[in-house]
Each structure stands twice: as C-alpha cells, then as structure tokens.
C-alpha cells in the first residue's frame, strides 16, 4: 500500500489548463498537486497558436521571459485560401492590442509552452508529479482518492477537491460519467511540422476545400522555415459521409505545396499526429460531487476554430475560484461546485453560444456549395472592408465576438447580395441581355441543391439538425443582451468584478 499524500486539491493533467489551475490555487495558498502522466517536454496535437488573450494570462503569471517571445515570430498577417483562390491576404483584422493584450499571437510549440507553464505552477508552490499516470479515482466520504503510477512507484493522493484537466480522454470525466460522446460536438484533427518553407515572416495561412467541409486547414509559421500545419474536421460529418481525416490530411499537404508558393518545397519534418477536440456546444455538466472539469476535459474548445489553449487557462482560473470557495465553505458536493457552472456560463456563453450556432449552421455538409461560396465571399468582403473583418471576422478567431453587430452585418450582406443580384437580373432581362448567369440566382440554386440533397438523404437527420439550430438560437439571449464580451477583459478581471 502506497503512502497517502494529502492535498487540498488534486489536478489531473499538467497541460495549459492543469498548470494554470495549479498556479491559480498555489498562489492562493492552497495545497495543490498536479499529476501529469508525461515527462515534459512532450509533443501534443495542436495548432500551437497562442492568441493575445492567452498571452495576457501568461504575462500575468510572469512566464513571458521564459518563452523567449523575442525570438519567436508574432503572427500578424494571414492568407486565406479557398481551393486555389486567395480571397483574403493581409493583416489579421481583429487584434487591436486593447485591454492589456498584445496585438499579436505567437506560435509556441506545445512541447515548449507546456513545459514552461508547468514549471511556472511548480514555482508558484504547486506540487508537481511528472510522469505520473492517474489510474483510478475513488470517492470516500468527502474525499477523492487518486491512485497513480509514477515509474515503478504507486501513488495514493487524497484531497477533498479533484480537478479533471486531463484532456479529451479524461479519466476523471469518464469516472464521473461526464465524458462526451456526442459527435456533433467533437472535432478530429491531424497535424505535422513542415520545414523547408519560404514564408513571409509572421504570416499564417488557413484554407478551405469544398470536399473537406465542415473543417479547415492551417499552417502557422515559426522561425527557420518551419511551420505547424494541420487540418480539422467534424467527426459527425466524417461518420456520415465516410470521410477519413488521414486521407484529407494527406491531400491537404499535397494541395498546400501547389497552392502556396512558399510551400513548394515543403518537407514533412515530423510524424503526423491525430487527435480529437471536444467543443463547447457539447458541454453537459462540468461539476460533480468533489470537483470540476476544465480545459479540453470540460469541452471548452471554440466550436468554429478548434482553439482551446486560452479557453483551457481561462476555465482553470474561473474554476480555481470555485475550488477556493468550496475549500472555504468546507463543502464539496455537486451543488457547491455549481458555482463553476454559473461562472463559466456567464463568462463564455455570450460569445461561445453564438459561435455554437454558427457551427451548427455549418454542420450540414450537403450545403457544401453554399457554405463554401458564402464564407468565401465573407473573406472577400473583409479584404476590402476592414470593419467587416473586425466584426464578422471574429466568427473565425479573435476575442471580441459581438453577436448583435455580427448578425446585423451578416444579414445585411446577404440581403444586399440578393437584392442587388435580383435587381441586376431584372435589369439584364429588361435590357435585352437575356438571362445571364447571375451570382445571386446561382447562389440561391446552390442553396436549393443543398436543401434537396439533405432532405432526400436523411430527413430524420435533417429535422434533428434544424431542431439543433433552433435550440442553439434559443440560447442566444446572453449573446445579444451583453454590453461587452466578458472574455475581452479576461478571467481575472471578470472574477474581480464579481467580488
């Protein structure tokens, strides 16, 4: 029998969320253990993109110096390919450097990032168990008992609070029967490191291919002609249409070589790794008797972009507050931890619910033509109209999601397109040019093809999809009523404003 080590809280998982939790609890003077199965540095399937909101948290924790940002490339520009077209090429419009955030994101490979962050938690006072795989979680009275194996040694840790920060395959979530299986909200991705690239400094590339919708690909450059490149797809779509992430990925590497002039000689520099992401719309409940789930384990991933590093840290900081409250109150039941639900809902819902709706709208692959044309036109518009990129652009990355303004912009663009197209067709007709292949009419017919394909293919699914859209719309109250997206000021300011 292993000797029992007692803590106030045990965090399972030492990634960005787990280490942020370790840091946040330790700085409050709480005795916390972080149990990480790997010995860092280790590889992780990720885009490695740390957005400005994430950097703000890192700065607060004082780990910017260790990350050597000076030697890294800030991501300032973006190319967006639609097959071989380039509808957008320019600055990333929605990062403005306000609210204490740097104006750029950085690519920080996860092996380096996670190592620094976990060290930061340890420096703050957390007890870190590296290379310790959590095996079994039990509950005895008001206590959580975690059995882990570190090398040959058996660990037995005990604490009133357990925090699951153990990613998609969360053991904690599984034990508490909270692991998500709803493939409508699970993405699959595969990524690799490329080198031998000749890319303009700090210019990211993303792309959409009509045969890989809903999903997208990315290439985030680092110094020395290296880049993180990968694709993500929705698993439900893969199931329904027999799409393989591996095949799509292989195609994507090939296509990148010829669509992007700087990637002509790209060389695959690492083994392609695949992974899953659990997205925000799939959250059922993230608290239970004795603890909470944060990060990927709690499905805090952006449903449009698949980004999760920042949300993982944000959910950790919010969760740490609930953990501290529970310890203060000496109560550890599910009802006590419901404060976490209230906090993260108040914090994330306004923006995330809206993004969930957009993701739902884009979930039906039968509409691939319309989705492809429609979103491409969005990027084209952003190219010429900066305000469109600033506001509607945040549907695809960026923090300042403004649902009301975005809805107005999107609906107005659609109305304008169809009114103008209809008028043009009418003028064409009466001026004797006859029926010309008018864009608006073509777009309407493309939509119609999607509608018919979807209803004919599986009406039951189609109706349930419509139901999901309506349900997603029904939760938009906070999105439309908010004055300002709480994420804009970050989790720390959010908690301060609450107290």
């Amino acid at each position: 029998m292993a000797r029992t080590q007692r803590f106030d809280a045990i965090v399972v998982g030492g990634g960005p969320a787990g280490s942020a939790m370790g840091w946040a609890l330790a700085t409050r003077g709480i005795k916390v253990a972080v149990v990480e199965k790997a010995v860092f540095p280790r590889e992780k399937v990720c885009g490695d993109f740390v957005e400005p909101a994430g950097l703000r948290i890192l700065e607060h924790r004082g780990c910017i110096p260790q990350l050597d940002l000076g030697k890294r490339l800030p991501i300032t520009r973006n190319r967006v390919y639609y097959e071989a077209r380039l509808p957008y090429h320019g600055e990333i419009p929605y990062y403005d450097g306000a609210h204490g955030m740097p104006p750029h994101g950085y690519i920080i490979p996860r092996d380096q990032l996670d190592t620094v962050l976990l060290q930061n938690a340890e420096d703050a006072g957390a007890t870190v168990f590296r290379g310790a795989a959590a095996k079994v979680l039990e509950r005895e009275g008001d206590s959580n008992i975690l059995f882990a194996r570190q090398g040959k040694e058996e660990l037995r840790l005990e604490a009133p609070v357990i925090v699951g920060a153990d990613g998609v395959q969360s053991m904690v979530a599984k034990t508490k029967d909270l692991r998500r299986t709803d493939r409508r909200h699970i993405g699959a991705s595969q990524r690799v490191y490329l080198d031998n690239l000749e890319i303009e400094e700090g210019e990211a590339t993303i792309w959409f291919d009509e045969d890989q919708i809903p999903g997208y690909g990315w290439m985030f450059p680092m110094t020395g002609g290296r880049a993180n490149m990968g694709i993500g797809l929705l698993t439900e779509t893969c199931d329904r249409f027999g799409m393989s992430v591996q095949h799509c990925f292989r195609d994507a590497v090939e296509r990148l070589r010829f669509r992007h002039p700087g990637c002509r000689n790209a060389r695959v520099a690492s083994k392609p790794l695949g992974g899953a992401v659990h997205m925000y719309g799939g959250i059922t409940r993230n608290h239970f008797d004795g603890g909470i789930l944060i990060g990927d384990a709690g499905s805090f991933v952006d449903p449009m972009t698949g980004e999760g590093i920042t949300q993982g840290m944000e959910s950790a900081i919010l969760g740490a507050h609930s953990v501290a409250l529970a310890l203060e109150a000496g109560r550890f039941d599910e009802a006590q931890f419901a404060s976490f639900e209230r906090d993260f809902r108040a914090y994330f819902d306004p923006a995330m619910r809206y993004l969930v709706l957009l993701a739902q709208l884009l979930r039906n692959r039968h509409f691939h033509e319309s989705m492809f044309i429609g979103t491409r036109k969005g990027f084209e518009r952003a190219q010429v109209q900066r305000s469109f990129g600033e506001i509607s652009g945040t549907s695809f990355g960026g923090l300042n999601v403004q649902p009301l303004a975005m809805t107005g912009q999107l609906l107005w663009s659609l109305a304008e397109h169809f009114l103008r197209g209809g008028a043009a067709a009418f003028v064409d007709a009466i001026s004797g040019r006859g029926f010309t292949g008018n864009g608006a009419v073509e777009d309407l017919l493309a939509w119609q093809r999607g509608w018919r394909a979807s209803t004919a293919h599986d009406l039951g699914w189609h109706l349930s999809w419509l139901g999901d859209i309506v349900r997603a719309m029904g939760t938009l109250g906070p999105s439309f009523l908010m004055d300002e997206n709480p994420r804009l000021r970050g989790p720390i300011a959010f908690l301060e404003a609450q107290s």
Partner: protein, 674 residues
C-alpha cells in the same frame, strides 16, 4: 443521435443453462407473427397457433383454383416505421423491389369518364394540386385539410376515462365553427372507405392520433405503398420462412379452444388440430393472445366449464370489456377478366357516392404480369359491406357488380354469376364476404376497452397482440398490429427477465414514430385559422349564389342564411383563435418543446423545414425549373393561390426575361467600345 455505446445486454450474451422458456402465441396474424419473430430472435422457444391453414390473418391470401386472393387490399403507409423495420430489417427484403409508391389516390364519380386525383399533402406541389383537383371547391378542400389539422392538435385525455373525450369525429366537426356539410360528408367518406366505419361512430381522439402520424407535410412522402404481389407471396410466405428458419413451431389448422391459468399464472392451452379426434393440452411458460376481439373475448371469458385452471378474466376483470369491441366485414370481389381494360389507372380508386362504399384496384398492373396473361384483374372491395342486402356470396357479388357498372359501363348487363356472355373470367373470379376476417372498428369510447400489451401485476405470463390492442398507433392498421406484436414480445421478455433475473437476448423495442410535437400542430392550426374562416365565408357565399341560381331564394331565405353565416364568422373565428392560442401557450409553458424527444419534431425545426420548402419552391420559380407534381395516372400540374404568392416574382421575372429574349433577338444591344 450518434452514440457509440452498444446496449450492455447485447454484449453480455446470456448463457442459459436452463432450457429456453416456451411461449405459445395464439393467432397467426401479423401481430402474432411479429411477436413470434421478436421472441425467437431473443432466444425463446415459440409455438405459433393458427386456426386456418395459412398464416396471415387479415393479411392472408386464400388460394382458390390456383389463384391467390387477398383477404382485402391494404395500404402500406410510408410512416409505418415498425412495419418497414420488420420488412426491411428483420425479413431482409427491399421495399423498392416489393412495393410501389403511390403519391395519392383517385376518385371517380358515377357516369364520369375522368378521375379526380387526391395527393398526399406532403409537399407544396401536392397541396396546390389538391386544392385545384376539383374533388370539392378549393375553399371546402382547405376546410377539410384544416379540420384534419384541428383534430390533430386537440388535446384529449388518453385514459379514455373522460366522458367528454368520448367523442366521435362527426360530433367533433359539429362542434367546430367552420364545419360545412361537404367537409363532414368527405370525412365520413374517407373513414368509410379506409376503415369501414362511419364518422359518427369513429372515435375522434383515435382518428386525431392517426392524423398526427399521417400529417407529415412537407416531407414529400407518398400516400402509401402497394405490394406488388399477393399478400401471401409478397409478405406472409417469406415471413413464415423466416419464422421456420428461426426454429418456430407453427401449428396451422389448429384451433385453440381454451386458455386457462395454472397456480403459477402459466397459460394452459387446449387445442384441436383439424382432422384430429382429440384435443391436446399443454402448459406453456408464457402466452400471447393475438386473435380478433371476438375470439379473444371467448378465450378470456372461457365459458366452457370443466377445464383445469382459472379463467383469465378472473385475474383481470377489466378484460371483460373485450365483449364491447366491434368489427366489420369487408366483402371483396376479385374480378378476373377475359380481356385487357385499356386506360384503367394503376392507383387505388374510390368510387365516390357508391352504395356499399366501393373501391377498385387493378392488380394486373401491380402483381407479376405472368399471373394475368395480359388480361385485367380488379379487386373490388365494399367498405360498407353491411349495406349489401344479401348474405349469399354470389348474390352479394352481383349486387356489387351492378353498382360497379354505374361507374364502369363495360360491366353493365351481367345477368348472373357465371354468365358466359360477358368479359368476366368466372373460373378465376372470386367473392368472399370475409365474415371471419373482420376489420376492428375504432368506435367512440373503444380505447378504454381495448387490451393493453400486458398486465404485469395480474397476468404476469400473458401478453396481448393484434391491431385491437392499445399502441402508439391507435387506429386499426397493420402498423398497429406489428407494433403491438413487438410490445407483446417485449412484455414477455421483460417478465422473463423479472422472473429469471437475466434478460434473454437483445432488448426488444418498438420503433418510435416521427411526428410533430403538439405545439407544432397547435401553431399550424393558428396559422391556418384565418384562411379557414375566410374559406368558410367563401363557402357560404357560394351556397348563396347556388341557391339564387337555382331560384331557391324566393323569400330571401338564402340571403338571410348568408347574412347569418357571415355575421357569425368573426365571433366564431375569434373564439377559436382565443382557445387555440391558449392551448398553444399551454404546450409552450408545459415545456414539451424544450426537448420534444428524439422522434417528435419541435416547432422550431418544423418552422424552419416549412420555410426551407417554401424557399425551395420559390427558388425553383426563380431558377426557371419546372417542378413536376408527383405523377399519377391523372395528375396534372397546377399552380394555385399559394404558389402564385411564392412564385410571383419568379414568374414575373421569367415572363419579362422571355419577352425580352424573344423581342430582341434581331438587334442585340452589345456595345463595343471603339
């Protein structure tokens, strides 16, 4: 939804050391056969008892002189989820290979050479075509449709105990402010035709439930599917082969005389096989009664004395109510001809206004051609069989034929059964009155008296099946039979699991139906209400005009009636709208919308679906595509009121476009910059 977890029961195969329990299924109709199949699949030992020589019950065929004659023609509706699951999944047969889809059915007036097409109103095209079909005035047709939506959106008490809920369809119509004589007559006609029951005795809640299942706009589903073979060859024979392959003991020609219960609630059967001198007796572990209500009442009451065991009705007195249930025979005449009738449509034909409620179906265009040698064969059924003033089969046949001749003069003047001087091939022609194959009647109040699938407290080892049993599909249908057979099998399996502590086989479950949520129906009703009352006013106006034209307005009575009717339109509409709005509100606050369940279609999804279909329809007009109305023999493409609205921009544009294109072919106005 996609869940990847398999039911645990499936993973853990039971390793029963004890022999499989024996189940006796009494009644080899669709319900009994389904129960047998499901139980065999779950690993039970099944003996199926059937009184007649062939399985199938009301879906059987009788072979006479080498020709298969179906008991009566059946409609296989598109929404029969359990039936299709059975046919496609359990029997492994293809729907497209064995059935043909029919978008609607036809009506024919006496003396008319033409047909009126009624399409299943599941698409905008079909709705518009129906309004213009000429079966009734568009206003009356709109009212007919509205009355269906109205009934489907009513909230009735489902126990059947509420006295006010014991309401008939005609009475329901009478209570509505928009009801007209023509709508009531049409509802009555439809019910008589399909279920052999008058609207003034049909249970309104039950029919409302049927409407909830069949109102599926806008899913483009067909009216029904017709089997491309006799019931025996197309359905029952492969079904029987499947049961035999699974090791079912099938005892046909075997009448079960009594079922009593031993001290452990086990059913003791006594039966006699045809030709056998003695009866046999055996106790089974479980029993399923899946026989018509008269036979079921006999078995439950078990009037014969001197048999060991206790009566079923002693354990469950409620079953005495089985004696209240009723059914009706549908006489069917299979008319084989010596010639081919040209131009006979391949659809179900209702002979409007016929005595005996006649329908006709040309099976020679439906069943395998080699059965007919290029000649026509018609199945003529008398849905209102009790109106035929004869109980002699051949005499009844001649009466039906005489009535049929009012619609098809080729059959006029046939003197007697076997008259050689006509186009009928008497050697193959067959009449049956079907006194032993009656159709269960869903009459007012019957729901409360119909048996449940099981009574676990009082009859732990018995279950009940057949279309008379209570299911999610209340109306007597094949779907009800299949679903009740499934539920009976599930009840036996559940009881066995309770007794042995181990579930045998995979969990038996019925397939839920995809229907609109109550909120959706109520919203649809509210949406249609203004147009319904406008239509009602229009009908009143039409009636006044007709009366005036006929010179019946001598003392201004017709005008007075018109004024009365018009004066009442607003208050009646306001009352109904207020009531409808209240019930709509109630279903919203009762939260049946928040999660309407996997199979119920919520209001939001329904609204998006309808909007999408309208946009689709409008896009067709804009894009210049010709959208065909679903094809039937007599279908024509129409564009009606709503279509005008949806497509007005499209067509105006199209017209301008065409005119411009035609008028400017000579001088093109391209300007080249020089």
């Amino acid at each position: 939804m996609t869940t990847r977890t398999k039911p645990k029961a499936a993973a853990k195969k039971p390793a029963p050391k004890a022999a499989a329990p024996e189940v006796a299924i009494i009644g080899g109709g669709l319900g009994g056969m389904t129960a047998a199949l499901k139980l065999l699949q779950a690993g039970f030992k099944v003996t199926l008892f059937e009184r007649y020589d062939r399985l199938g019950g009301n879906t059987a065929s009788e072979r006479v002189n080498g020709v298969e004659h179906d008991v009566y023609p059946h409609m296989f509706c598109d929404w029969y989820a359990n039936f299709w699951q059975l046919f496609e999944h359990d029997l492994g047969l293809s729907r497209e290979d064995h059935f043909v889809a029919h978008p609607g059915s036809l009506l024919r007036e006496p003396g008319s050479g033409d047909y009126v097409t009624m399409l299943n109103p599941t698409s905008i095209e079909a709705l518009l075509a129906n309004l213009k079909s000429g079966a009734m005035s568009p206003a009356e047709l709109l009212l007919l449709g509205y009355s269906g939506v109205d009934l489907a959106s009513q909230q009735f008490d489902r126990d059947g105990l509420n006295q006010l809920g014991k309401l008939d369809v005609n009475g329901f119509l009478y209570s509505r402010g928009y009801a007209t004589e023509a709508v009531a007559a049409m509802q009555n006609y439809l019910l008589t035709l399909v279920w052999s029951i008058d609207s003034d005795v049909t249970s309104a809640p039950t029919y409302g439930n049927f409407l909830q299942h069949s109102l599926r706009f806008p899913d483009h589903s067909p009216f029904d599917w017709l089997l491309r073979n006799s019931l025996n060859d197309g359905l029952i024979a492969p079904f029987r082969a499947k049961l035999e392959a699974l090791g079912c003991t099938i005892r046909t020609g075997c009448a079960v005389q009594s079922v009593r219960l031993d001290s452990d609630h086990r059913p003791i059967l006594r039966w006699q096989t045809k030709g056998a001198k003695r009866t046999q007796t055996k106790a089974f572990d479980y029993g399923v009664l899946a026989v018509p209500h008269e036979a079921m009442a006999d078995l439950v009451m078990c009037r014969t004395s001197g048999i060991a065991g206790s009566r079923i009705v002693d354990a469950e007195p409620e079953l005495a109510n089985l004696r209240r249930l009723t059914s009706s025979a549908i006489p069917v005449l299979d008319l084989y001809l010596r010639v081919k009738l040209d131009g006979f449509p391949a659809d179900n034909i209702g002979l409007a206004g016929s005595n005996y409620g006649l329908t006709a179906l040309d099976i020679s265009q439906l069943w395998p051609a080699e059965l007919f040698g290029g000649k026509t064969a018609l199945v003529v059924a008398a849905s209102d069989g009790d109106a035929i003033p004869s109980e002699d089969p051949e005499q009844a046949a001649m009466l039906m034929l005489a009535e049929f001749a009012r619609y098809y003069p080729q059959f006029a003047g046939i003197a007697r059964w076997g008259d050689p001087d006509c186009i009928v091939d008497w050697a193959k022609t067959h009449i049956r009155l079907n006194a032993h194959h009656k159709l269960f009647l869903d009459d007012t109040g019957s729901w409360a008296f119909r048996p449940a699938a099981a009574y676990p407290e009082t009859l732990p080892r018995l279950a009940f099946g057949g279309d008379l049993c209570r299911t999610d599909v209340e109306m007597a249908t094949m779907e009800g039979a299949v679903q009740s057979g499934t539920l009976a099998a599930a009840a036996v399996q559940a009881q066995d699991a309770r007794i042995t502590g181990l579930q045998r086989g995979k969990e038996i479950a019925d397939v839920p139906h995809r229907v609109y949520s109550p909120t959706t129906f109520r919203a649809a009703k509210l949406l249609l209400l203004p147009s319904a009352y406008a239509a009602y006013a229009l009908v009143a106006l039409d009636q006044y005009r007709a009366a005036k034209a006929a010179g019946d307005d001598r003392a201004g009575e017709a005008l007075a009636t018109l004024v009365e009717n018009l004066a009442l339109v607003l208050p009646k509409a306001a009352t109904e709208a207020g009531e409808g709005a209240y019930w709509f509100y109630r279903s919203l606050v009762d939260k049946d919308e928040e999660d309407p369940g996997d199979e119920a279609i919520g209001l939001g999804a329904a609204a998006l679906m309808v909007l999408g279909e309208i946009a689709d329809y409008a896009a067709s007009h804009l894009g210049g595509e010709e959208r065909p109305v679903p094809e039937t023999g007599a279908a024509k493409a129409f564009e009606g009121i709503a279509g005008e609205i949806a497509g007005i921009a499209g067509r105006a544009f199209g017209a301008v476009r065409d005119a411009a294109a035609n008028g400017n072919t000579a001088k093109r106005r391209w300007r080249v910059k020089s």
